[in-house]
């Protein structure tokens, strides 16, 4: 029982990481239909930002706190640049964005290799986040994972508030639900797209900061997460935050419980089969926008 609980907590923290990554994807994939493979490299950018900041700010705690907004801005700026240079030319061919952004991601990985070297680097976690909390009965929670969980939930909350309460959020939701109608209603969809891309990519940067707490930083660190994060969006349903939240945690827990009862590799296969089976039941994902359109 203790093992199962510990394993579930590990799963929840895996889910939190997936969620942080998938939040940005829900926006960009949901609003624009863009499959941005370079999202993984925005994670990497966030992680390296933390690394660089820690070199100049010696305090691990301060640098981590500074890194959160800075990584958001760095990754967000990269996202805007990508949107402006390439993606806006490809809105009529959403599937092709996958290959184009994959090319971008290859180049960004190489860029990271050229700047920081091919071997992985490491940051120091602040002392506060290195310990464990023991709940008794053999159940322990790692502080760093609790922090990531908190960060993910905070991001969900912030994003929900932005989408629900601000004029920008209303515009974003309008564009997600009916792009053409939004356009003729006087919404500058291009600007909304760019802002959405900024926020979505920025969240990847935040995810990168979080990942420095639980693993090494390397040029290909994003690739390891990107497909899983896309699966979260696929299962959760496009453009739906609550779908992503539920799915991220469900997949995280499923994966880590299965890993415990079988092996990592078998767990992956079972999760994939489960996803394909799930799509038989709900081909559009957990939550969908109901529309009458053919597409």
């Amino acid at each position: 029982m203790t093992v199962i609980l510990n394993q579930s907590f590990t799963g929840i923290s895996i889910g939190a990481v997936l969620l942080l990554i998938a939040l940005g994807l829900t926006l960009t994939f949901g609003q624009m239909g863009v499959i941005n493979m370079a999202h993984g490299e925005f994670i990497m950018a966030g992680a390296y930002t933390t690394y660089v900041l820690q070199k100049s700010i010696s305090s691990a705690g301060v640098s981590l706190l500074v890194a959160l907004p800075v990584a958001f801005l760095v990754a967000g700026a990269m996202g805007v640049l990508l949107e402006w240079l390439l993606i806006r030319r490809l809105y009529t061919r959403p599937l092709d964005t996958l290959l184009v952004t994959w090319g971008v991601s290859l180049m960004l990985q190489q860029l990271a290799r050229d700047i920081f070297g091919a071997p992985n680097v490491q940051t120091h976690a602040p002392d506060l986040l290195t310990g464990n909390i023991s709940l008794g009965g053999g159940i322990t929670l790692a502080n760093s994972r609790l922090f990531i969980l908190g960060l993910a939930l905070l991001s969900v909350l912030a994003l929900t508030l932005i989408l629900k309460l601000t004029p920008l959020g209303r515009r974003i939701r309008a564009v997600v639900q009916n792009r053409d109608l939004a356009e003729v209603s006087g919404i500058a969809t291009e600007r909304v797209d760019r802002t959405t891309f900024f926020i979505g990519s920025g969240l990847a940067g935040v995810a990168g900061v979080a990942l420095t707490l639980v693993g090494p930083i390397g040029p290909t660190m994003g690739t390891n997460y990107i497909v899983d994060a896309f699966l979260v969006v696929v299962v959760g349903g496009i453009g739906q935050l609550k779908g992503s939240v539920i799915t991220a945690f469900a997949l995280g827990v499923l994966q880590s419980v299965l890993e415990y009862s079988t092996t990592v590799s078998v767990a992956k296969v079972i999760v994939l089969v489960a996803i394909v089976a799930f799509l038989q039941w709900r081909p559009q994902g957990l939550y969908t926008l109901r529309t009458r359109s053919l597409a």
């Binding site: 996958l98 290959l99 690739t223 394909v276």
Partner: protein, 372 residues
């Protein structure tokens, strides 16, 4: 069926049209089966054999992606299944030739001294050969059936294909005792009784690969011009419309996907004697996307374009990646961006694009992606 006079085009054009394709095919055959073996050293010819394996995958990619609009990003899975099926048989044959019951890596990492049950049938060459094609086709049929039947979106299909590639690669790595793990199946000595160390036999392998490529290109060409080929384009352009015509688009897509998988499997099987190895590194997400880039550069919807593109990219990769690894990665990334982003018809469409531009009508390349 009655023929009316309205279709008969002007005779000279018809003659040209009629002989263009067979002439091109004959030229390709002469180059691959005549000129290349004479002009190239053993080493270069074996490299070409490897590139041709990628070209065989590209034939299927051109059918499924170029014509059918299916973003097949998991071809590494089928390539790998074909490759492992072949390699398992060759490893068993190698072991049997030296009087062993187990392949060498199993003696090193294995837990017992008995062959896993699922290895046993691969000792039979006919079974193993059939599996190189049937196994990938079966997996594709299974995934394709569930995905296409429920009208899962094109983007979802692309992501699921990638996830499948990742899962298979991870699974292979995890089963070191029975699959060789990260190393894969290596050090293959013989090919159905012929030693692969002998350059003459290596040349034989090359000829087999070249012949298979030519045959598959001819078969794919027949599919392209058949009614099925027209229907496939129709499904790509407007799936819903095809459904209202009384077809089930899921089946149309499934056929293209399964054929492409079979071709990738065959390519993987031929890759093993040509290169002497099959490993998870050839299967995961990265190589799977790599299988598409050649077709994208050459022209996804053009059979010859896709094949030449695949050969060219493979050549560039093995020529540049050792000497200038960083430069190659940048170039590869740039290829994706430029070919897919700005020249969706690939190099095969360059002539048309330039002509249009000169005529002042803009680029006007039609989109070939499925908008699902």
């Amino acid at each position: 069926m009655t023929t009316t006079t309205t279709t008969s085009p002007a005779p000279p054009v018809a003659l040209l049209e009629r002989f263009r394709v067979p002439a091109g095919f004959a030229l390709g055959a002469v180059l691959l089966l005549g000129v290349a073996p004479l002009a190239l050293s053993d080493f270069r010819l074996s490299l070409l054999a490897k590139y041709l394996c990628y070209a065989i995958v590209a034939v299927g990619v051109s059918l499924a992606w170029g014509r059918g609009g299916l973003m097949v990003l998991g071809q590494g899975v089928f390539f790998g299944l074909g490759g492992y099926a072949m390699a398992m048989h060759l490893k068993l044959a190698d072991a049997a030739a030296t009087g062993q019951t187990l392949p060498d890596f199993m003696q090193l990492y294995g837990t017992g001294d008995t062959l896993p049950w699922w290895w046993e049938p691969f000792a039979n060459p006919a079974f193993a050969l059939a599996m190189t094609v049937l196994l990938p086709m079966a997996v594709a049929a299974l995934l394709g059936f569930f995905v296409f039947q429920r009208r899962v979106k094109g983007a979802y299909f692309a992501i699921l294909s990638q996830a499948l590639a990742a899962a298979l690669a991870i699974w292979l790595v995890g089963q070191q005792a029975t699959t060789g793990g990260t190393n894969g199946l290596t050090d293959i000595q013989g090919f159905f009784g012929y030693s692969l160390d002998d350059p003459v036999n290596q040349r034989m392998v090359y000829f087999i690969i070249a012949a298979v490529l030519l045959l598959l290109m001819a078969a794919a060409r027949q599919l392209f011009v058949s009614r099925y080929g027209e229907l496939l384009i129709a499904v790509r352009d407007s799936e819903e419309r095809v459904r209202f015509l009384g077809y089930n688009p899921a089946n149309v897509k499934l056929v293209a996907y399964v054929i492409a998988a079979g071709m990738a499997g065959l390519a993987g099987a031929l890759f093993v004697p040509a290169v002497g190895i099959i490993s998870p590194a050839l299967i995961g997400i990265v190589p799977s996307i790599g299988f598409v880039i050649g077709a994208a550069v050459g022209g996804r919807a053009s059979l010859v374009g896709a094949v030449l593109g695949a050969i060219a990219v493979a050549w560039a990769q093995s020529t540049l990646s050792d000497a200038f690894p960083a430069a190659w990665t940048y170039l590869q990334g740039l290829l994706f961006v430029v070919a897919v982003g700005f020249l969706p018809g690939g190099l095969a469409s360059l002539g048309i694009v330039l002509r249009k531009r000169r005529a002042g009508t803009g680029t006007g390349t039609r989109t070939t992606g499925e908008t699902a």
